[in-house]
């Protein structure tokens, strides 16, 4: 069966996917032409990852259709997708670390490499070598995968994905999800050369946060925002600024970040003073945060900012440095000491680290500050009800009641409960917010921003690891840029005098 060259390799029409409380995809359209490298960009929460999962059968959309070479298909599993010639290189590398490269490349489709369940290692090596030759890689197929560098593992993954050529007679569609996030710049060059090779016999969907990279390697770039396609541009001649504007849309008018409510920062002694903090992935970090101030730390993946944030809460070991709160030196060798010092931490992984899913709103809210609901060693139901209901009311948490399991709430309301956990004690002085709006829709995000403003106004100091640069710039009074474990610059960020994202990006990479 031959397909006219004008037929798109892959076409997505009106794709819709709901999650409880969030509309992840809201009618996405996407066209991938034959032998094209299509860039896909969007802010966190724009729906990129859900769209990619739908393309490889990991997510079944609620509505809309996916067409492969003009033919509508239903993709229910990775195998389905592979049968239609769609394969994905996952963001978190999906190789079995304790197997050889050859086994990983051939995993699930060893063919003549395994006869009646018995391995023919020479055949395995030969088949894997064929795959590696396609991408011009000189990795030894029989080396254990965990002995390879990140870049080599990625080559193994690409070699593995190319196996789908055997399942489908047509040129494959290869999806690369944030392939550059763990690579060095030289390795990125190699990867780009590889992508250009792939174009000869495949179509490629390339997802990245780094817009300059996207423009460098792609033919065309499609932009997603809030689960919708908001446009596409030809990469030739386009500038990152243009893409950026499409990604964030026009937020200036409606004061998304409640900048008018920004607190007045008190000068004088800082609430938090960090001196020379060092750990495994960060060195010599100095940081001051005043009461009422919001300081954002920005940096690319691997900059060490997450670890700094966790170290401030005593959840990450430090090798050197001092931490002072309101002029008093504190010892944060564990999270207990941090809690006692009035520090609260909202973790990035809400579902696994932020909350106990099956437990009630009340239990989750009083988890860290048991004293708020207890009389002596016993839980005082009346006291608990009063405290919890007060915070449900004050943060306008939408829940059927305080006894509802937190996992039944929408993401935004869950996050408010997690935030309230630090507020019920009444002794909060510093909040560490690690991606507090991750996975939330626009409305919920806005509410979290409003809460942050209110808390700042009441004198709470905040360290924010924002989900996007826009968020950091919108919310912060000051921004610290981290690169490779060190703070490389500090940028004032007052309302009315915000820096541009591109200036920050320059420092980050």
């Amino acid at each position: 069966m031959s397909v006219p060259a004008s037929t798109p390799a892959l076409e997505v029409r009106g794709l819709v996917k709901h999650y409880p409380g969030v509309k992840a995809l809201d009618g996405v359209d996407l066209v991938v032409r034959q032998h094209e490298v299509l860039g896909l960009v969007g802010e966190n929460g724009a729906g990129k990852s859900t769209l990619l999962k739908a393309l490889v059968g990991l997510v079944v959309p609620d509505a809309g259709e996916i067409r492969v070479r003009g033919e509508a298909v239903k993709l229910r599993s990775v195998v389905d997708a592979a049968d239609h010639g769609i394969g994905m290189v996952f963001q978190e590398q999906s190789l079995v670390p304790n197997l050889t490269a050859a086994e990983n490349i051939l995993l699930g489709g060893e063919g003549p490499g395994v006869r009646r369940g018995v391995y023919r290692w020479d055949a395995m090596r030969r088949l894997a070598q064929e795959q590696l030759d396609k991408i011009g890689s000189n990795i030894d197929p029989l080396v254990r995968t965990d002995a390879l560098s990140f870049a080599d593992r990625q080559m193994v993954e690409i070699a593995k994905v190319l196996r789908i050529e055997q399942r489908s007679q047509h040129p494959p569609v290869i999806v690369l999800d944030e392939p550059t996030s763990v690579l060095e710049s030289k390795e990125i060059e190699t990867l780009f050369a590889q992508i250009r090779r792939l174009r000869e016999f495949a179509s490629v969907v390339f997802v990245s946060h780094r817009l300059d990279e996207v423009l460098e390697v792609c033919d065309r770039v499609a932009v997603l925002r809030n689960g919708q396609s908001v446009g596409e541009v030809a990469a030739a001649g386009a500038v990152p600024r243009e893409l950026h504007r499409m990604m964030i849309g026009s937020t200036g008018s409606d004061d998304h970040y409640h900048e008018n409510a920004a607190a007045v920062v008190e000068s004088g002694q800082p609430r938090l003073a960090v001196r020379g903090l060092s750990g495994t992935s960060f060195q010599d970090v100095n940081l001051d945060v005043a009461a009422g101030e919001i300081v954002a730390i920005v940096g690319v993946h691997g900059s060490g900012r997450e670890d700094v944030c966790r170290a401030l809460f005593g959840a990450e070991p430090v090798t050197a440095g001092e931490i002072w709160m309101d002029g008093k030196k504190i010892d944060i060798s564990g999270t207990r000491a941090a809690c006692a010092a009035g520090i609260g931490y909202v973790p990035a992984e809400r579902k696994t680290e932020g909350m106990v899913g099956p437990m009630s709103v009340a239990e989750n809210m009083t988890l860290a500050k048991q004293r708020a609901r207890c009389a002596g060693p016993f839980v005082a139901p009346g006291k608990q009800a009063t405290v919890v209901d007060r915070w449900i009311d004050r943060l306008s948490i939408r829940t059927p009641g305080r006894d509802t399991p937190i996992q039944r709430l929408s993401g935004g309301n869950q996050q408010k409960v997690v935030l309230a956990r630090w507020l019920v004690g009444g002794d909060i002085r510093l909040l560490l917010l690690d991606h507090p709006t991750r996975g939330l829709d626009i409305g919920a995000r806005s509410e979290v921003y409003r809460l942050m403003r209110e808390l700042a106004a009441s004198g709470v100091a905040t360290v924010l690891l924002a989900d996007s640069l826009e968020e950091a710039i919108g919310m912060a009074d000051r921004i610290l840029v981290m690169n490779d474990g060190r703070v490389v610059s500090e940028v004032g960020c007052p309302a009315g005098g915000k820096p541009s994202p591109l200036d920050l990006v320059k420092e980050m990479v």
């Binding site: 599993s77 996952f90 999906s94 079995v96 197997l99 995993l107 489709g109 018995v118 990450e316």
Partner: protein
């Protein structure tokens, strides 16, 4: 150390004794290693061995009935072990019962079946071949030891050259990746438990040969010793690392230690406790490199 403390430890006979004593444990450990490689655990060895011991002693020439099936009887006992393994595996993948609970249950079932067959009268075997396994020697080592050595070899081949063995590794390494690669994991899990069960079945037969009779308690204590041996040998309880050869070394270490303790005059009453301490210490030593703060251990 033991060689210094006790001259008897050094003797040829004692070395032969130790290797012979290691035979049954080696076979059990071979089986359990595959389960541990997947990151699961298997506590069914004692029950499966009891059932297989009674089965074999009632099927070969014995004082309870007129059966005299010889090798066929041994085969049936091994198959029975295999079936018990299947049962554990199916409970794990179909009913989602965690492996430690599923296999603990299967162990109890095995003991129950064995008790039913025992029926209050101990079956003594008179089958010359089976009795001979424990007594006759080849190159100074008993037949049982050669059987165990064969099992280790077969186990190593399984692990190195079969899809079953390689996938056991892969399941322990990154199970999600297998699923994302379109591999159906469940059948392999069941098969691994079945293979392990077959090893336990054979071990039950070997114990029967040693004792000359079928006892319900034939496998008593082997489940724990086998896990100890595998862990001491370097197979991780979290799966993905180690292997049959590692475990064989672990078996020798454990047997040398137990034997050494006896030879230097430590009361046998102490041995159980010492073995317990060893396994906890070995596991602690194995996880030191990967310990992380705030790591949740269940």
């Amino acid at each position: 150390m033991f060689a210094v403390l006790s001259p008897r430890f050094r003797s040829i006979e004692n070395v032969q004794n130790m290797v012979d004593a290691a035979a049954v444990l080696a076979v059990v450990t071979c089986g359990i290693t595959f389960v541990l490689l997947m990151g699961s655990i298997d506590l069914s060895a004692a029950g499966v061995m009891g059932a297989s011991a009674l089965t074999v002693s009632l099927l070969v020439a014995n004082n309870r009935n007129d059966n005299d099936l010889g090798l066929l009887g041994i085969g049936v006992a091994v198959l029975l072990g295999c079936a018990f393994g299947c049962l554990s595996g199916l409970a794990l993948v179909l009913l989602k019962v965690p492996s430690f609970m599923a296999t603990l249950g299967v162990s109890a079932v095995g003991l129950g079946v064995a008790t039913l067959m025992f029926a209050g009268v101990q079956p003594n075997i008179s089958d010359a071949m089976l009795k001979g396994w424990a007594i006759e020697r080849f190159l100074g080592l008993s037949y049982l030891t050669w059987i165990a050595a064969t099992c280790v070899l077969v186990g190593w081949l399984l692990q190195r050259y079969t899809r079953l063995g390689r996938y056991a590794f892969a399941i322990g390494g990154a199970e999600e990746v297998l699923a994302l690669s379109g591999v159906r994991v469940k059948p392999y899990k069941v098969a691994v438990f079945a293979v392990a069960g077959a090893f336990y079945g054979l071990a039950g037969v070997m114990v029967t040969s040693q004792l000359g009779a079928g006892l319900v308690q034939a496998g008593s204590g082997y489940d724990f010793s086998a896990i100890t041996a595998a862990v001491v040998g370097g197979t991780l309880l979290t799966g993905g690392r180690g292997g049959v050869l590692h475990s064989a070394v672990g078996v020798l270490l454990v047997v040398v230690l137990t034997n050494g303790l006896v030879q230097i005059g430590v009361s046998p009453y102490w041995q159980g406790g010492v073995e317990g301490l060893i396994v906890v210490a070995a596991v602690a030593a194995a996880v030191i490199p990967q310990r992380r703060r705030n790591q949740v251990v269940k």
